[in-house]
């Protein structure tokens, strides 16, 4: 699956799409593939504060539970409640309908520090190489 060029990415495999100071956050195709079938997500409530690098939720698959880290600081304006009944959207459309939360960024410049699509693809290529080594 292609990694959208207008998104930014973290080493923990979250993606961010910024539009007018609000960032949509999800987990990447690579992450969903590693996790396997997602069966449950735990998301913060609207109004909750999230902080860069701190855990804000969990994604549970049939084989593991993973913490999700905030790629940037801010306040949660929306959580993707559809996922409570349809967590499989994270597997089928990780970069779109499988988004997790939207954050009103407290410092929009922060996102520029994250990887772009090309850098992220290089990063996961090196990760896979490490894993197979």
């Amino acid at each position: 699956m292609a990694y959208p060029a207008n998104y930014r990415y973290t080493k923990e495999h979250e993606w961010v799409e910024v539009q007018g100071g609000v960032a949509a956050v999800g987990i990447t195709d690579y992450a969903q593939h590693e996790l396997g079938d997602v069966v449950f997500v735990e998301l913060p409530k609207v109004g909750a504060k999230v902080e860069t690098g701190k855990m804000f939720g969990t994604v549970e698959s049939v084989k593991a539970v993973s913490d999700i880290y905030a790629p940037a600081s801010g306040e949660v304006t929306e959580a993707n409640d559809v996922l409570h009944n349809a967590p499989e959207k994270i597997n089928t459309d990780p970069h779109g309908a499988g988004w997790l939360i939207k954050i009103k960024l407290s410092n929009p410049a922060e996102v520029a520090n994250l990887m772009d699509a090309a850098a992220y693809e290089a990063y996961i290529a090196s990760q896979s190489k490490e894993a197979s080594a």
Binding site: F40, E42, E60, S61, V62, K63, A64, V65, D67
Partner: protein, 448 residues
């Protein structure tokens, strides 16, 4: 892997690997005053014949011919020999936690049936495969509520079993939980005014026991309403599971923590028992312990497997819902066999006998001069009486008449100096109750 002690060569290899010269050097970091410099004070080894003699002598110390009025969290109920015969089958008795679905359908089905029975009895939607005992189940219920609400203040009824409160305090000590006790009212039930004034929006859970430690049945609906109004959960602890044969299931509770000992487990020396945590389905992911689930295999047949294992320690490490890493499978199986033998009517009949006999005993004891019923709220098979003199002295007298006397409440409640908690189950005959009342009368007439 062979279960053999380490040889000197293996010890040396391990010490070399971590760069330490000797065991002594390995322990050098332990302050001298904590080091034991002598051999453990243990008796020497015994031959097979000596071991058999030893146990025969211990067995001869058993108290045959005594009648017990002691309950307080552990209850003497009828048990069928069928239960022991079934749980002692090698497939159940000697298999260590076999959960691999391919080879463990019997064990998994038994656990699933246990969970189903616990749900039916507690009026809850999900129950786990069992906890260590009622006390750890109660603590786990509190920790579960803390995770669900994100709050850390805990209101616990003082009428919750004192040992359950101790276990909770031990867990809470270094965990950031703030445990506060709620007093009981004059009739023995939870003091609702105290509850109202303690309930703020920082309370995670209200934990009450019903029937409570004084034997008194709590009215749960108003407690649930009060807790929920403050955004808190209601957890209900049950020490006497047979009460559920008659009382309404505690379906108002968000979490039920129960001791299942009354279902086919002998009092023994206080264990092993089996705890239960049951709750609503929407809270299942915050439940401690493991769950067996019913599913369909690749050929379309009904099958059983462990579900939600991702919440457990071997996968979630420090973020697991609980540090429990086992369950009381054999005790839970005993409870399942026992309940299946009794059936719905049998359990109801057993509970009814407990209620009737306990109320007959209360009436008989009240006729004894100086004996007073302490709390006037409804009770099941335990009740509190106040005596005109020390319960300990009275119990010493009763023991000489081959009667194990009631629980001395003063040992756990400093304010209840002359109070005794009397337990009467279906195993107690009318004649024994009358003999107890007569012996109590004589004990109180004795010159001090």
């Amino acid at each position: 892997m062979r279960y053999l002690p380490k040889s000197p060569a293996e010890r040396k290899e391990m010490l070399d690997a971590i760069g330490v010269k000797s065991i002594e050097q390995l322990f050098a970091g332990i302050p001298e005053r904590y080091r034991l410099r002598e051999a453990l004070k243990l008796p020497g080894p015994l031959s097979e014949a000596e071991v058999i003699d030893y146990f025969k002598a211990r067995a001869a110390e058993n108290s045959f011919g005594y009648t017990s009025f002691l309950g307080a969290g552990v209850y003497n109920h009828l048990r069928s020999v069928v239960t022991d015969a079934l749980i002692q089958r090698g497939e159940f008795l000697t298999s260590y936690t076999p959960y691999q679905a391919e080879i463990s359908q019997g064990t998994l089905q038994a656990i699933f049936e246990f969970q189903t029975l616990m749900c039916q009895l507690t009026g809850q939607e999900v129950a786990n495969a069992s906890m260590y005992d009622g006390s750890t189940a109660a603590t786990e219920a509190v920790l579960m509520a803390e995770r669900l609400t994100g709050r850390s203040r805990v209101l616990v009824a003082r009428s919750l079993h004192p040992e359950y409160r101790d276990v909770l305090k031990t867990y809470a000590k270094n965990s950031g939980l703030h445990v506060e006790e709620l007093p009981y009212a004059a009739n023995g039930t939870l003091d609702q005014k105290a509850l109202q004034s303690a309930l703020k929006n920082d309370v995670a859970v209200v934990l009450v026991q019903s029937p409570n430690f004084f034997g008194v049945i709590e009215s749960l609906a108003p407690l649930a309403e009060a807790a929920h109004a403050a955004g808190a959960l209601l957890a209900v602890a049950i020490t006497e599971a047979v009460s559920l044969g008659l009382l309404n299931p505690p379906s108002e509770a968000d979490i039920v923590a129960m001791e299942a000992q009354s279902f086919g487990l002998a009092p023994s020396y206080g264990g092993p028992f089996a705890g239960v945590v049951a709750s609503r389905e929407k809270f299942v992911r915050q439940m401690p312990g493991r769950l067996a689930g019913q599913t369909t295999d690749s050929e379309g047949h009904r099958g059983f497997c462990l579900t939600l294992a991702t919440r457990e320690q071997h996968i979630r490490r420090e973020k697991a819902t609980s540090n429990i890493c086992t369950n009381q499978a054999l005790c839970a199986l005993a409870a399942t066999v026992h309940l299946t033998l009794l059936g719905k009517e049998g359990l109801r009949e057993m509970a009814h006998q407990n209620l009737s006999k306990a109320h007959f005993a209360m009436a008989e004891l009240e006729k004894v001069p100086g004996v007073r019923r302490a709390f006037d709220a409804p009770f099941f098979n335990e009740f509190t009486i106040e005596l005109p003199r020390s319960v300990k002295l009275v119990n010493a007298y009763l023991l000489r008449e081959k009667i194990v006397g009631p629980f001395v409440l003063g040992t756990a409640y400093h304010e209840l100096t002359k109070h005794a908690l009397v337990c009467v189950t279906e195993t107690t005959s009318r004649a024994e109750i009358e003999r107890f009342a007569a012996a109590l009368r004589r004990a109180l007439e004795q010159p001090l």
